[in-house]
């Protein structure tokens, strides 16, 4: 479980995050949603320590990450996995070497064990057969799956995903969403996904936090969104005419025309 208490972040005079208080639960897919520039990525960067908050606390199962020393943070980070928007695979390494990389750095396994573990993770994301390819030789969806395999290879307790579906077609996005959801439940990890993909929100949103202009505007589950009266949330969710029509149909209990 990750608990955020009174988190503020400012860049110079500009306050980007204002008094964020929330809890990201264990074994659930926690989604952070909001418009571009609302502060989602800054919030995630504060959670993983790529940025230092101006004030506030980030508690990982009660351990305050912000107050930790550099050395403690390094050890803490070994319990985290992260999937970046661009997948951030190492270009010079093959798919297998990318997945093995955290094991090479931190585990005491021998080469055969490391390869076996990496292959198990590639199998988990349905990528057996691509292990000898380089990131430049595989599709965007496959790159994301390699990134997922690399993120879970060390059995992390906390998994962070920054817009994992960006640049992917709807079908591949669903595959990635299902994968993240099943991994979260299988390994009982705390997964935080930063997204503005409505399919993800409705499909796997077990705990959704809506950020508006740096503030937490709304928190709930996907089933509550349709009936929400928060106009900022509904403006964001039902931005397209199609979704507005869907909502009208659902609220009036009439079939869509």
């Amino acid at each position: 479980m990750i608990e955020v208490k009174h988190l503020y972040k400012a860049f110079g005079e500009k306050e980007v995050l204002k008094d964020i208080n929330t809890v990201f639960e264990n074994g659930k897919t926690n989604l952070i949603i909001g418009q571009s520039g609302s502060g989602k990525t800054v919030l995630m960067k504060n959670l993983v320590g790529l940025l230092d908050p101006t004030s506030g606390q980030v508690l990982y199962d009660g351990r305050d990450f912000v107050a930790m020393s550099k050395k403690e943070k390094v050890f803490m980070r070994r319990e985290m996995g992260m999937i970046f928007q661009s997948a951030a695979l190492f270009d010079s390494l093959t798919v297998l070497e990318n997945v093995m990389f955290p094991l090479d750095m931190f585990s005491n396994m021998n080469l055969r064990e490391r390869q076996q573990r990496a292959m198990d993770c590639l199998d988990r994301v349905n990528l057996v057969g691509a292990e000898k390819k380089f990131p430049g030789e595989i599709s965007g969806g496959m790159q994301k799956r390699v990134a997922i395999a690399r993120a879970i290879v060390m059995n992390p307790k906390y998994l962070f995903c920054d817009e994992p579906n960006s640049g992917l077609d709807p079908k591949t996005s669903l595959v990635i969403d299902d994968l993240l959801h099943s991994i979260t439940q299988e390994f009982q990890i705390t997964t935080i996904i930063n997204t503005h993909d409505m399919n993800s929100v409705m499909g796997i949103g077990e705990n959704i936090i809506f950020i508006y202009e740096g503030q937490k505007e709304w928190q709930g589950v996907s089933s509550e969104i349709m009936g929400s009266t928060n106009h900022r949330l509904t403006d964001f969710i039902f931005a397209s005419d199609l979704l507005k029509e869907m909502r009208a149909a659902i609220t009036s209990q009439k079939p869509m025309g």
């Binding site: 993983v48 790529l50 943070k73 390094v74 050890f75 803490m76 980070r77 070994r78 985290m80 992260m82 970046f84 928007q85 661009s86 951030a88 695979l89 190492f90 270009d91 990389f101 955290p102 090479d104 750095m105 931190f106 962070f160």
Partner: protein
């Protein structure tokens, strides 16, 4: 006079800003080097990277170093023979001056200036691309000291391979000079040999190697800083690559003056 006008025209506020920018950049460079020179997390991975960087930065540069050294050695020998030698000078003077130029300046300073272009842009663009594609962030998230993991093998790899490049360059320059004698028949090979052997001071070889070590550090660390600290996209990576080459070339030229004075 021109300097005076320049000083008068530059507002003190801008001078202060410029100084602040330079000091900030220098401070960040020192902090990055502090992070770089730490004990690697996993020595096995470090050695792997170290050997890879030696091959990529050093061994892959041997071809261009040999090619340029050969032709420069040949051209210097021809120039000396045609323009310097006269009946009033001994016949070995062309060989002697060729050796001194190759050994004292070309094989260390000029070769490092050439390498600043090849190796420097390579390092800056590689690290810059890693930065903008979040690969460096990925390392940081894993709890790895990304500066040490990426930059230290490059610096140590280039420092290790540089003396070999200096020796190869000097040797190839001499081969180039002999080519003018044997193929171009510009001068007698015996005269060239006499000149190459005349008043040889072994310290000059060491001086060249010592200078090249300083230059190797500049060539690897300055572009590494430029690439590592990129913010933005492909345009900024390109700019960092250019900055890396320009800055390291200027620093090599400045330090060459001091090192030559110090070591001579």
């Amino acid at each position: 006079m021109r300097n005076k006008i320049f000083c008068v025209s530059l507002h003190p506020k801008y001078k202060k800003m410029l100084l602040h920018k330079w000091l900030t950049t220098f401070g960040r460079y020192v902090i990055l080097m502090g992070r770089t020179f730490s004990v690697p997390e996993r020595m096995r991975m470090f050695w792997k990277q170290y050997v890879k960087e030696m091959a990529q930065l050093g061994v892959d540069s041997i071809g261009i170093v040999l090619l340029i050294s050969f032709f420069i050695g040949a051209v210097i020998c021809i120039q000396m023979k045609v323009n310097i030698q006269s009946p009033w000078m001994p016949r070995w003077v062309a060989g002697y001056t060729t050796r001194e130029i190759m050994l004292l300046e070309f094989s260390s300073s000029i070769m490092c200036l050439i390498l600043a272009g090849k190796v420097g842009s390579n390092i800056a663009s590689e690290l810059g691309t890693m930065r903008v594609t979040q690969q460096i962030d990925a390392l940081d998230i894993m709890g790895i000291n990304s500066a040490c993991h990426l930059i230290l093998p490059k610096i140590l790899g280039l420092l290790t391979i540089m003396p070999f490049l200096v020796i190869f360059s000097s040797a190839m320059g001499i081969v180039g000079a002999y080519a003018t004698a044997y193929i171009g028949h510009i001068m007698a090979a015996d005269d060239l040999t006499l000149g190459l052997q005349h008043s040889f001071i072994p310290w000059f070889m060491w001086m060249s190697i010592i200078k090249s070590q300083f230059f190797a550090f500049i060539i690897s660390s300055v572009p590494a800083y430029c690439g590592y600290s990129v913010e933005g996209g492909s345009v900024e990576v390109g700019k960092a690559s250019t900055d890396a080459v320009v800055t390291s070339s200027v620093l090599i030229l400045f330090s060459d003056v001091f090192l030559t004075q110090l070591l001579s």
